[in-house]
């Protein structure tokens, strides 16, 4: 893993100055890939990052990953108070930060929620992949329905994998704890608690009331994109859901064909054979349709859904970035008003200024990373769908062509064929 990206968010974060992971990371990578000394200014670092971004992606892909995570084996866990699902999380890694090369732990959904919220707290302007939703609103799916559990498991798996390939997030201490600690509850209780988080929220609200003075151009463009993207991805998601609905209704009607043709065949002599042939063809096409619907539900829908949730994440990231800027501006204004203790305030303002710069850089860095990821993921989902559809029509084509062949054959040939088969 190359070093440049790491600096984007070393912690000046007001809450987590004692977070080891950031400092650790910082001190480890004291030089850039080309051996030149580490630059001082954040902006030049960003430029560096941008230039080498493409390379880095390729490098990441080409390099063997040194951290592999999987989520499987959902099991029902019953206690006196509640019933919930525990998932097995298996980690394989060569990273030296880890005491061992393999870990296996059991985690529940709440644990994932905890992990994600910690990651977001520590890296407010990084784009942390979303988790599957808590509840399924539509369809009234029972919480512990098999399909629901499987869908959730896949999404949790994807979530952890997204984190594990993230150049910054994968080095998070919380992430490590999540992957390795036998029992997570004790860790969950530590660290900034509910109250301090509350404090942050209150501050954020207070700041937002004040309003943003001027958002840098590029973030304005980013915001516009985020809003548009959110609209579009939601539309694509809706269209896809609608297609599945229509396909299901089509299949229901289609299923009436075969028994009718069979019934007809029962009262015919010469016609019985071709009629049964058609009945069989229609039935087979029905099965292919079922498979196609399933594929849509299992491949395209989850992918689109993930990015619908991503869009919300992006909006939150934009908000948090804005808040950081607002906080700085508020203090800065106070400084300029000369009504307060200048020296003390100057230090605070400097810290906040750095914070803004780092937040912006973190976002910028992660932004193109996210866009590439989005492009890759959705491209793959769309490709898979198109391929499946081609396959669907090819299968149906084969079914009908074979029927045609059986009809075009001479009766004597046909009998011979039947004897042979």
């Amino acid at each position: 893993m190359s070093g440049q990206t790491v600096h984007a968010d070393f912690s000046g974060h007001m809450l987590d100055l004692d977070e080891d992971e950031d400092l650790e990371v910082f001190s480890k990578n004291t030089s850039l890939a080309d051996g030149s000394p580490m630059p001082n200014s954040p902006s030049s670092m960003v430029n560096q990052y941008r230039l080498e971004e493409e390379e880095e992606q390729e490098q990441q892909d080409a390099n063997a990953r040194d951290l592999f995570v999987s989520v499987d084996n959902p099991e029902s866990h019953v206690t006196a108070i509640e019933t919930f699902i525990m998932y097995r999380v298996v980690t394989k890694t060569t990273r030296s930060e880890f005491d061992s090369s393999e870990f296996e732990v059991r985690r529940r959904y709440q644990d994932f929620l905890w992990l994600r919220s910690r990651l977001e707290e520590n890296h407010p302007t990084l784009i942390v992949h979303p988790l599957p939703e808590k509840f399924v609103m539509k369809g009234m799916v029972e919480r512990f329905n098999d399909d629901f559990i499987e869908t959730r498991r896949k999404a949790l798996h994807r979530f952890l994998n997204k984190i594990s390939v993230h150049p910054i997030l994968s080095y998070s201490q919380h992430f490590k704890v999540f992957l390795t600690a036998e029992e997570l509850m004790s860790h969950r209780k530590q660290g900034p608690g509910f109250l301090s988080r509350m404090g942050e929220t209150v501050r954020a609200v207070a700041n937002s009331v004040r309003g943003l003075r001027s958002r840098p151009e590029e973030f304005t463009l980013m915001q516009e994109y985020v809003d548009d993207f959110s609209n579009k991805i939601c539309s694509v998601d809706k269209v896809t859901q609608r297609i599945i609905k229509e396909q299901r209704e089509y299949l229901d009607e289609l299923k009436q064909y075969s028994p009718t043709y069979s019934q007809w065949a029962g009262s015919e002599e010469e016609l019985a054979e071709p009629l049964r042939g058609v009945a069989s063809c229609v039935e087979r096409c029905g099965l292919e349709t079922e498979e196609q619907i399933q594929h849509l539900s299992e491949v395209l829908v989850p992918a689109l859904h993930e990015y619908v949730l991503c869009a919300e994440t992006l909006k939150a990231v934009m908000r948090r970035r804005d808040n950081i800027q607002v906080e700085f501006e508020a203090k800065n204004e106070a400084l300029a008003s000369r009504r307060v203790d200048q020296e003390a305030l100057q230090d605070e303002v400097d810290v906040l200024a750095d914070r803004v710069e780092l937040a912006n850089n973190a976002l910028k860095g992660d932004w193109s990373r996210w866009q590439n990821s989005m492009r890759t993921d959705l491209k793959s989902a769309f490709l898979s769908t198109a391929e499946k559809n081609v396959e669907y029509y090819e299968q149906c084509l084969a079914v009908w062509e074979s029927f045609l062949l059986s009809q075009r054959a001479e009766p004597s040939e046909q009998n011979a064929g039947e004897d042979a088969s």
Partner: protein, 438 residues
């Protein structure tokens, strides 16, 4: 079974031309009919070439709009190379005139399964628009159906020789009078009565009973099939059209993306193509539905032949029964024994025997009645026998025709499905290429 092994990956040998269009397959059907060279078809080619809207005053002096159809007759000789085909003789007929012709045929040839007309009003329609009698698609399909009807009659060994049919094709003005002059109207009323009458045949002909059952079965199953088809078509339409939304959304989305833009945009176009393709697909399927409908309506004709036979059989039984009765009466009168209760017998018991003269005159009357009865019985027997023979000939002919036609229909349905699949493969392959560029 030569039916496809679903998972088989072997290349199936190239299928005979599956790119046949519906018009081609329609022509195939017509060609097979023409091949059955009747004298009439050896002489002339028949087409229902066009349809036109007319307005006029109807019988109650109200303005109405109706459609007329152009019948073209051409001499059947082949045109020499480079020569121009002869100009056809033409006349215009409206649907009600076809109906009149058919009623005439029904009444005149009760032992023949008379080909049906295309439906008067569109039934089993999947799209409400096509239910309008003036809808161009409906009119077009009706034109094809009317041509089909004429060709079926013209290729029938018995019906093709009918004079009224010939006049229908050749005499625009005087035809109506000619039909009415045949006096078939009287038979229409009695026919209606017979068709609705309830009666019981003592010794039903097993073959006809079986045929009636078969006809009812066929009617049920084809109706069911047509109903299902409408629902399936409706749903499939929905599936395809919703994909059109992808077109719109991808286009909008492509506007905000840099790298993904081109791929999304072009994929969107293919989605639009996919959505639009369903219209042609379902239009073609209407043709298959029409082929099924023809045989649905045929079942009515079959049923009425069976019914007519029942009536004749019943009348025969009545005549025979009557004769038996009369013969018994004669025997009693002759021998003096009263086996059968008769009023005469009772009154003679009560009021004394009748005179010798009276008895003899009664015997003579009975004798005559019996003779007449035997004549009638002979006639009826012959009539019944002839009916059964000619009807059964036509039924065998019909069965063969039905098997052939419906098999062709199923094949053309398969061809349609194949065409639809090929289009699907094309569109989604193209879309895949576009997604690859994302």
């Amino acid at each position: 079974m030569m039916m496809a092994d679903s998972g088989s990956n072997e290349e199936v040998a190239v299928i005979v031309n599956t790119d046949i269009t519906s018009t081609e397959s329609e022509n195939n059907l017509i060609n097979t009919m023409v091949e059955r060279g009747t004298a009439l078809l050896r002489k002339m080619e028949i087409n229902v070439a066009e349809a036109e809207k007319r307005t006029g005053k109807n019988t109650v002096n109200m303005q109405e709009t109706y459609t007329v159809y152009l019948i073209e007759i051409r001499p059947a000789e082949t045109v020499p190379e480079g020569g121009t085909p002869a100009t056809p003789d033409t006349l215009w007929r409206r649907y009600s005139e076809f109906e009149l012709l058919r009623t005439y045929l029904l009444v005149t040839y009760p032992y023949i399964i008379i080909p049906p007309l295309p439906e008067k009003r569109a039934e089993f329609v999947w799209h409400k628009l096509a239910a309008d009698n003036l809808d161009p698609d409906f009119v077009e399909r009706r034109r094809v159906g009317l041509e089909n009807f004429l060709l079926r009659v013209a290729s029938h060994p018995v019906l093709s020789n009918d004079k009224i049919f010939f006049l229908f094709l050749t005499e625009e003005k005087g035809w109506r009078e000619a039909v009415l002059e045949t006096g078939f109207q009287d038979k229409v009323d009695s026919r209606l009565k017979s068709l609705s009458a309830m009666f019981r045949v003592k010794n039903p002909d097993k073959r006809f009973t079986a045929l009636k059952h078969y006809s009812d079965e066929l009617n049920t199953v084809i109706s069911q099939l047509l109903r299902v088809r409408v629902k399936v078509a409706d749903r499939l339409y929905g599936v395809y059209k919703v994909h059109g939304n992808y077109g719109r959304v991808f286009s909008e989305w492509s506007a905000i993306e840099k790298e993904m833009g081109d791929g999304l945009q072009s994929a969107g176009h293919h989605m639009d193509t996919y959505a639009a393709s369903i219209d042609d697909i379902l239009e073609e399927e209407e043709h298959y539905a029409d082929q099924l409908k023809e045989y649905l309506f045929y079942t009515d004709a079959v049923r009425s032949v069976c019914r007519k036979h029942e009536l004749i059989q019943y009348e025969l039984e009545m005549v025979a029964q009557d004769l038996v009765h009369k013969k018994q009466q004669k025997e009693e009168l002759a021998t003096g024994t009263v086996r059968i209760f008769s009023l005469k017998g009772m009154t003679s018991k009560l009021f004394g025997q009748e005179s010798q003269e009276q008895r003899e005159s009664r015997l003579a009357a009975l004798e005559q009645s019996i003779q007449e009865g035997e004549e009638i019985l002979k006639e009826k027997n012959t009539e019944c026998g002839e009916f059964v023979q000619t009807a059964w000939e036509d039924i065998e002919r019909f069965k063969e025709q039905k098997d052939k036609d419906l098999r062709e229909a199923l094949i053309s349905y398969a061809i349609m499905q194949i065409s639809m699949c090929k289009k699907g493969i094309q569109v989604w392959s193209n879309a895949k290429e576009c997604f690859n560029k994302i």
